[in-house]
Symmetry: C2
Subunit: 586 residues, 2 copies
């Protein structure tokens, strides 16, 4: 028979009703005279009772029931006795007295309990993923993820975006990360690649005139995995025609607003603040600042422009940077702790880390003896110093000073618990550099990707200091995490060719890899741009999950291995042979 209710439905309204329930034995309490079982399904729990006086036979069967058995029960809804009311759950005022019991399936003893509060090795959890996923907390992550998907698609669809599927078997055009390859059986020696993103396809959809596109889509990167990276990940992928930076930012802001409000009831105040890459770098030391941390980096070049302190003097002379951060109450840091921080700063590439303790209205220790009283006064004012504050200063080249202070800022904030975990802080970072020089490859590489449009375009834009070119690129940052990134794309063939040139992609290579795109740009490509949200990361932040693996149903380990089914695995020689391949001696 079919269940008539799930395990999260019955209330006092159902008293006296005959019902059928399905579920798992979540817990069992044998009180001798009565047996109580919490029957569990995805929706909730319902207490069922076996009473020997009502039905001795079924009561005896219930004695044999064990955790995770799957049951079908028939019974009558009764009021719970006063002393066992449970307001924490929806069905907490009722129980079902069982009149008929069918064991749909048994369960061996599970390798770990299906409860929230056990600390189990992740390897075991991943091996028995189907059991791990029975935990309420994990289930809730996927219930929320499913909800976010619907909210996202409905919002975009209702705003005239079309969902269009792009191929998974595509052409290998690695630029940056490594492609996963798929050998072709029909075309010996040739390979497909799995998409790192549907970038070129979505641009072609704009050229085809689809105007507004979206897709929640799997992407793939064969990278050496870091924490919280997966070989396959999911993007909310979006592209729009006839737009500029502001249009995409506006649309994406509304989307994230909708997601947060409808999924967890959190209202984001629009518009979301925008700051330039340069400002983010100089105030927070990176391009994804966490604004929940209540202090930031302060540039001190102006303040120390006449400093007699040799280190600062030299720095000013060499057009370097001097900057610092204030740690409230930091004077309590021990000498040992400060020495460790100095050591750490040096390991990170700084020549040193200067400090100043502010106590009883005066600067103490550190470099205070090298500073003039004017400089001290200025510092006091600039940092609004209070008794007990500690200043940490770095003087070095521009590209060294800020990232180091940025890292120290994050570390201190975590150490001193300065971050409000209940706050969601959003920020747009805009005006990224178009290019950055890769020492390793001895060439400029695209900071975003080679299809990004420069902010101001002229014929000779690339002739001098390409590193200074600003891109029409933007990132959405949430609590120090990049959750979305995008750009306005190049829609002019000539500019795209120039871009490949500056990246030292030869004409031949450009033609071979991206000829189809260059071709398409000749036939009436509209101005267009877009954005992609990292969905896994976003869900992780929404659910406050500790790991990205807690929001992916069947994740891989850091070595891209699936412990549950054992993938990748060896295959039979025939399969390899049919692909015109041989294994190398390994």
């Amino acid at each position: 028979m079919r269940r008539t209710y799930t395990c999260n439905e019955l209330t006092l309204k159902n008293i006296g009703e005959d019902v059928v329930l399905n579920g798992w034995v979540h817990s069992k309490r044998d009180h001798g005279s009565l047996i109580f079982i919490d029957l569990r399904d995805r929706y909730g729990l319902t207490q069922i009772v076996f009473n020997p006086e009502t039905n001795k036979n079924i009561y005896m069967q219930a004695k044999e029931l064990r955790s995770e058995y799957v049951l079908e029960i028939h019974g009558k809804v009764e009021t719970r006795p006063q002393e066992s009311l449970n307001n924490a759950i929806k069905t907490g005022e009722i129980e079902v007295e069982v009149k008929d019991l069918i064991v749909l399936n048994k369960s061996k003893t599970t390798p770990f309990e299906i409860s929230e509060d056990n600390e189990i090795k992740e390897e075991l959890r991943l091996t028995y993923r189907y059991l791990d996923l029975r935990k309420k907390k994990l289930q809730n992550n996927f219930i929320l993820r499913s909800k976010v998907n619907q909210i996202t698609r409905n919002f975009l669809y209702n705003n005239d975006f079309l969902e269009i599927e792009t191929p998974i078997l595509m052409k290998s055009t690695p630029e940056g990360a490594r492609d996963f390859l798929v050998p072709s059986r029909n075309h010996p020696g040739k390979f497909y690649a799995l998409p790192q993103s549907p970038q070129t396809y979505k641009q072609l959809l704009m050229i085809a005139g689809f105007d507004q596109y979206f897709q929640i889509v799997k992407c793939f990167r064969d990278e050496d995995l870091r924490k919280d990276r997966q070989p396959e990940f999911t993007q909310i992928d979006i592209e729009m025609s006839f737009v500029e930076v502001d249009d995409v930012i506006d649309m994406a802001s509304k989307l994230i607003c909708e997601i947060f409000e409808k999924s967890i009831g959190y209202k984001i105040k629009l518009p979301i603040e925008e700051i330039s890459y340069k400002e983010a770098f100089e105030r927070f030391g990176n391009d994804k600042p966490d604004l929940r941390i209540p202090f930031e980096i302060v540039t001190l070049n102006e303040l120390f422009k006449n400093s007699e302190f040799m280190v600062f003097k030299e720095t000013i002379k060499n057009k370097g940077s001097i900057a610092g951060i204030k740690i409230k109450g930091g004077v309590s840091f021990t000498r040992k702790k400060i020495d460790l921080m100095i050591e750490d700063a040096k390991n990170k590439g700084a020549k040193g880390l200067a400090y100043l303790k502010f106590k009883d209205g005066n600067f103490e220790t550190g470099i205070s003896k090298f500073l003039s009283s004017d400089e001290k006064d200025s510092l006091k004012r600039k940092f609004e110093l209070d008794d007990g504050d500690l200043l940490l200063l770095v003087a070095d080249s521009y590209n060294v000073v800020y990232p180091i202070l940025g890292e120290i800022r994050l570390e201190i904030a975590n150490e001193l618990n300065l971050i409000n975990e209940n706050e969601y802080n959003f920020l747009w970072v805009v005006d990224f550099p178009l290019l950055e020089f890769s020492e390793e490859e001895n060439r400029f590489v695209a900071r975003h990707h080679p299809f990004t449009q420069p902010k101001l375009y002229s014929e000779n834009i690339f002739d001098e200091s390409p590193e200074n070119i600003i891109a029409k690129a933007y990132d959405l940052v949430l609590n120090g995490n990049e959750i979305a990134g995008g750009s306005i794309r190049i829609h002019q063939k000539k500019l795209q060719e120039r871009m490949f040139e500056i990246l030292k992609i030869s004409k031949k290579e450009a033609e071979q890899k991206f000829g189809f795109l260059l071709n398409a740009l000749q036939y009436g490509a509209p101005p267009h741009g877009g954005i992609a949200f990292g969905l896994d990361r976003l869900i992780m932040l929404l659910t406050k999950a500790k790991s990205i693996r807690d929001v992916i149903a069947f994740p891989k380990t850091n070595s891209a291995y699936s412990l549950m089914e054992g993938a990748p695995s060896y295959v039979v020689d025939n399969q390899i042979n049919d692909l015109h391949l041989k294994l190398k001696n390994i």
Copy 2:
């Protein structure tokens, strides 16, 4: 500046308004005194007018405009002159007099015109896919596809299904079709496979207690392609716990009902008829009957049980089948045509094809002289013969007679245009055989897949005539196409092991390939079942597209090649090397 309207919005209500439009030059008519352009975007067309008296300069620029140029125009909405009203389009009563023109991008002459009625070689269309996709008809296919996706997900989500993503990089467990393989860089000599379906994952989600799952998901098969097959295809994938055949059929019927009503306004009458596989086979010769064809196969064993005609007599004796179809007005078939049909039937494996013409109340030619008048009378009544009808009869073994008559039925129906193309005929085929014997592999293979539950289970079910076991499997058929298929799955470890055994999958192989599933079945697996819709096929039928490639944005050819970007392609040796592989000498 941003557009203020799309090209399908302006009506008489907007007269006098200053507007900004973006779009492509769809067509241009230079009347000397005035230039008219139909400006096109995804939404529609708007007529824009360049008048030298209003602005000579812009009029001169307009002279240079060519097809597929991308424009931004500023202008004022005016009423169209009476003689150029166009009721066929929404904007047909207005035109926009252009006051400012910006050419956003130019276009070379396209290799084919962006119009509906040109017959272009598909190769050219696929090479310039981004131009082909500009055609209204194709665009409409994708607009409908996007809509169907939303209808589907909203229906399922609102019915408590969770959308959960399953991995694309999975374990290779080929059974039936060939897997696409992905070599692992981190695990030398090992491979991932792309999923042929998320079958095992969705079962594990049920074991994890997610209760109801869905996903619109890409699947992959490395097959030698036939017409209307693609190496990657999309499924609406569904799984439910605590259900039986009727529950899945009921839910899937409601889903398809919702899709047809909300996407194209077609109401399907529920419940959808169900017939057994056996009945489908004997009445229509296959498992996906097209009921729009107004005649079916009639079994004549009873009628001819005492026949003196040697062929029939022998057939009855050998427990074969005699069956026939009636073709209304078929007496007009020429002798030559009938000879061709006989030849064709023989090529299809029949020993022959008998025929009878019914004319002026009498049987003529063919085998009429071998039949008794009783038999003739019975035939008349059985087929309700009218003057001019033709009977085609086959006598042979059971497995030969019906498929051949089924094929002839389809051919004749197409030839004589007997199919109402505006009708959507739905049908559930149920009670499929669980197994079929593969002569090639000399073993039983699963007709659906090895996880399908038999209808009646007993310990010794597999001991005698496995070919007679009925499965809890069901297909949804639309106009002779299987559009969905599913089954109730095995949730008992023992039965699953017995199933692998009967399929001659050794214990070791079963453990190696499916050990994780067998394991999972021990820990409280609920009864469960599901279904998957072939989305590409479904959209093709909804849009009446001629090819599956017309509903896939970037399809591959029959040799699994993408003509647009050239995929698969050669990759650099390094890439292959890193995967611990060598190309074989090809």
